[in-house]
Symmetry: C2
Subunit: 136 residues, 2 copies
DNA sequence: ATGATAAGTGAGCAC
DNA sequence: GTGCTCACTTATCAT
């Protein structure tokens, strides 16, 4: 519990032996820390506390940066997706318009063919590609 | 040219008189700077150069941050626009689909009405909303 | 006490 | 030398 130095002998990380305990200082609970600090010169204690704060801040800064970065990344990705979706919708739209034109034409043709039967009210106004809207 | 201090008497900006020349140090051309530096103790000269670098860096950092910020801002705005455009396209799409359905129906009705005339080939298969595609 | 962020500084890359 | 950006520190704010 109170062993500060060299709990770990195998250290593959690229850290000098001087800063090995940094992680411990930062991680330690406040209670453990205070217990430890009482057994030191008040000057050193203050230094340790300050260092702990700095180390934590370093971490906060890092995660803040990462957050910022991934936010931009997400926005970029999202933008690409939206753009893709838009072009897809535009294609669908184009396709629908074309289909619609086709049906209007076909309707017009049929109407022309069928005109002799029903009451020939306004069927004369059925030009090549301009027919009035259906009611529903 | 070589007047360093107090060229400006009116200073509305919130700067202490100590840092007034900072802007000058930073702005001065290299030639002017060197001319000035030659008339100083090499130690002070080095300090000035270092400070110039620091001041410039401060500016670079600031503009870098602004750039980053406005980039995110632009992405957000762009995203909103894209989203808006998408919902618009979706509405257009919906509208077209509906219109298309209407025309298909109307065509089907007319076809049913006109069926006694032409060859009654498959018009019996014309159910409520299911008609075959037109060729074009 | 802890977490977050803006601003300043140093280090290092690219031109 | 200049400009840029990353990582770190400091100051400051909110919880």
């Amino acid at each position: 519990m109170t062993t500060i130095k060299h709990d770990i002998s195998e250290n593959d990380e690229s850290e000098e032996s001087l800063s090995i305990d940094d992680h411990q200082i930062m991680t330690m609970s406040v209670k453990e820390l205070n217990t430890l600090l009482k057994s030191m010169k008040p000057n050193d204690a203050a230094n340790i506390k300050r260092r702990r704060r700095i180390l934590k801040n370093k971490g906060y800064a890092a995660s803040s940066r990462h957050r910022q970065t991934s936010m931009v990344g997400n926005l970029s990705v999202e933008r690409s997706q939206l753009v893709r979706q838009i072009s897809q919708l535009q294609h669908e739209n184009e396709s629908l318009s074309q289909e619609l034109r086709g049906w209007k034409q076909r309707y017009s043709d049929l109407q022309l063919l069928a005109s002799p039967i029903g009451t020939v009210s306004q069927s004369t106004a059925a030009k090549s590609n301009n027919v009035k809207e259906p009611s529903h």
